[in-house]
Symmetry: C2
Subunit: 399 residues, 2 copies
Amino acid sequence: MVNVAILGFGTVGSGVAEVIHKNGSHISEKVANQVAVKYILDIRDFPDSIFADKIIHDFSIIENDPEVDVVVETIGGATIALDYTRRALKAGKSVVTSNKELVATHGYELLQLAKEHNVSYLFEASVGGGIPIIRPISQCLAANELTEIAGILNGTTNYILTRMIRAGLPFEDALKEAQANGYAERDPSADIEGADACRKICILASLAFGRHIYPDQVPTEGITHITLSDVAFARSGDMKIKLLGRAIRREDDKVCAYVAPHLVPDESPLANVEDVFNAISVKGDAIGDVMFYGRGAGKLPTASAVVADVMDAAKHLKTKKYISWAEGGPDAVYSIDEVKNRWYVRTNAGVAAPEGAQVLSNPDDKACSAFITAEVLSEKELRAKLDGTEILAAYRVLD
Amino acid sequence: MVNVAILGFGTVGSGVAEVIHKNGSHISEKVANQVAVKYILDIRDFPDSIFADKIIHDFSIIENDPEVDVVVETIGGATIALDYTRRALKAGKSVVTSNKELVATHGYELLQLAKEHNVSYLFEASVGGGIPIIRPISQCLAANELTEIAGILNGTTNYILTRMIRAGLPFEDALKEAQANGYAERDPSADIEGADACRKICILASLAFGRHIYPDQVPTEGITHITLSDVAFARSGDMKIKLLGRAIRREDDKVCAYVAPHLVPDESPLANVEDVFNAISVKGDAIGDVMFYGRGAGKLPTASAVVADVMDAAKHLKTKKYISWAEGGPDAVYSIDEVKNRWYVRTNAGVAAPEGAQVLSNPDDKACSAFITAEVLSEKELRAKLDGTEILAAYRVLD
């Protein structure tokens, strides 16, 4: 018997309880052991839930119960969740989480703690919801030297951009629609200003390249300033505007990770990822490009990723899992000033495009001109080249 | 030290040797053990290769060397490869393969043999080249009841269809171009008649649904009879013709697997998989749809998948891996006669489309008409409904 304790009976936590309950016999068969939920920790009671008799309010019951093998942390944030995760690992219990903020800010410390206590700390659900990505990067692509990751990591912003592109809704209206459909929170800032994507690219970069990249090392730009005019200019060049998290490894093994809107050419598989779907593209020396695609959020997709980790932990109670990365630091990263690419630039109407640039058109915007530079430039080089020109918008092109 | 023996020094086998050689320190670090190639078995000598001193011609040297932990089988076919795989597993060595024919025809027997001798039989590279798919299905999606798999599993046919769609080349010309580019063999029949895709869907169906599905249980139709007219009619309905391998689990757990051309609507992510790329879409009760995308073939992508399995086997020398499925049989499958969908039908010009059907247009083909049925029908029901009409082509629609 493998006993599981769930911390936090919110959307994901209750989904985990449901998936274990519904697919119980299938899960136990695959693990070759009975998997059961013993406790659910929450500050609230749930008298009408079928799990009402499992609800407790005191974490120390879980911490001190030697029968609990696996703790599922779906509290979120990096305060109580951090405290409970540390204590669970120290008590010799494997911990599975969907908490991207905690992994992005304290992953190195928690992975070390897990190693010291010979247990697992697993977080497949922290990136890409139900899309398998953490395990493929750490195991399936293990024979590769990975060089780059680019992903549509946030479903809310992808939905908003899709509605701007397809239905011609301005940003504010698309956001309201996303809120009405339950895809965006009442306070949408973590999504639309890029913080959510930032945490996810931190986790992916740390895993793929081997040293912890922290959120404050990741320049992050959201989508709030993208206009319908930008969308239309991009379309005239057969491109779509997408918010990407990117991490690029340089030859000296330093990494630049950042979050920013990009113009993505239609022939890139990332361009066709619509609505709330996420996709993560990984480049390796042997495999070339592979891409993982699916629903990046939602109760059941996320819960299914958590439960897959629970099953993995349950099968490896006596042999620890091999996820790890080294401590980060200022010498782990290089500056975004050194990341060069072609640029989309929107200026006032009548400004001449530089020589060789691809001129874009938008008949609905008489006040602006736009073009894509022919050269691959850093942002500093771009601004020097256009010195004296008022730049109304500048986004990188993904080539 | 983990010693590896490679059987067959062809494209994939030499790629495996190269990847282990080139990424050796990275690999050994991840495995926490030195991984080295000890023998390469081939009938030929390779005096100019940097691996010349590893070449041997007698399998019994490998079989009888207790220092060999992992055998990589890249011979192909199901004769010598079967004999050597059986002997290696019986000698207590884990076996890693890219040989889809062997896994599709003898997977159950070989997985049982591996279990009996407490070793691993791994085959990530047998489907989708470098795309991680076997491990995600067996581990990451383990918490799901999987219900359906649909994939573009053969890069050669996808290249040919892409060239027909994009460049308007007739089938024969697109095939010649694929051969000139090295994407198709001189004898292309295993690709264009669907046998390669058939083996791959057998492996995926067995793994996802738990009982061995054999190639002779899989109705298989290739792409040789697809015309430019079909391609154009499909385009007018915003669809693309793709060769799909599909496997559908019914509620009684029986499975129907088949290979056939399908009309795929543009909004499906499978429609945008072009050229030699492969993609596999998996449907589960909790995750919804996820898709895996990348290069389905090629020396280094395939070799990198083999080496990832070698690393996995090397890390689990003392604990067997959990891939397994049960014996198949006639009661594991249900008939394709029960698979219902909308149909694309091409008839002689002037034949009236059935009521409610979506009429397609192709101004370049005055001799034919085409439509998509409104109802979801089995093939038998379709033919009964159109009784008396000469059907020139009929393909399923993926909805």
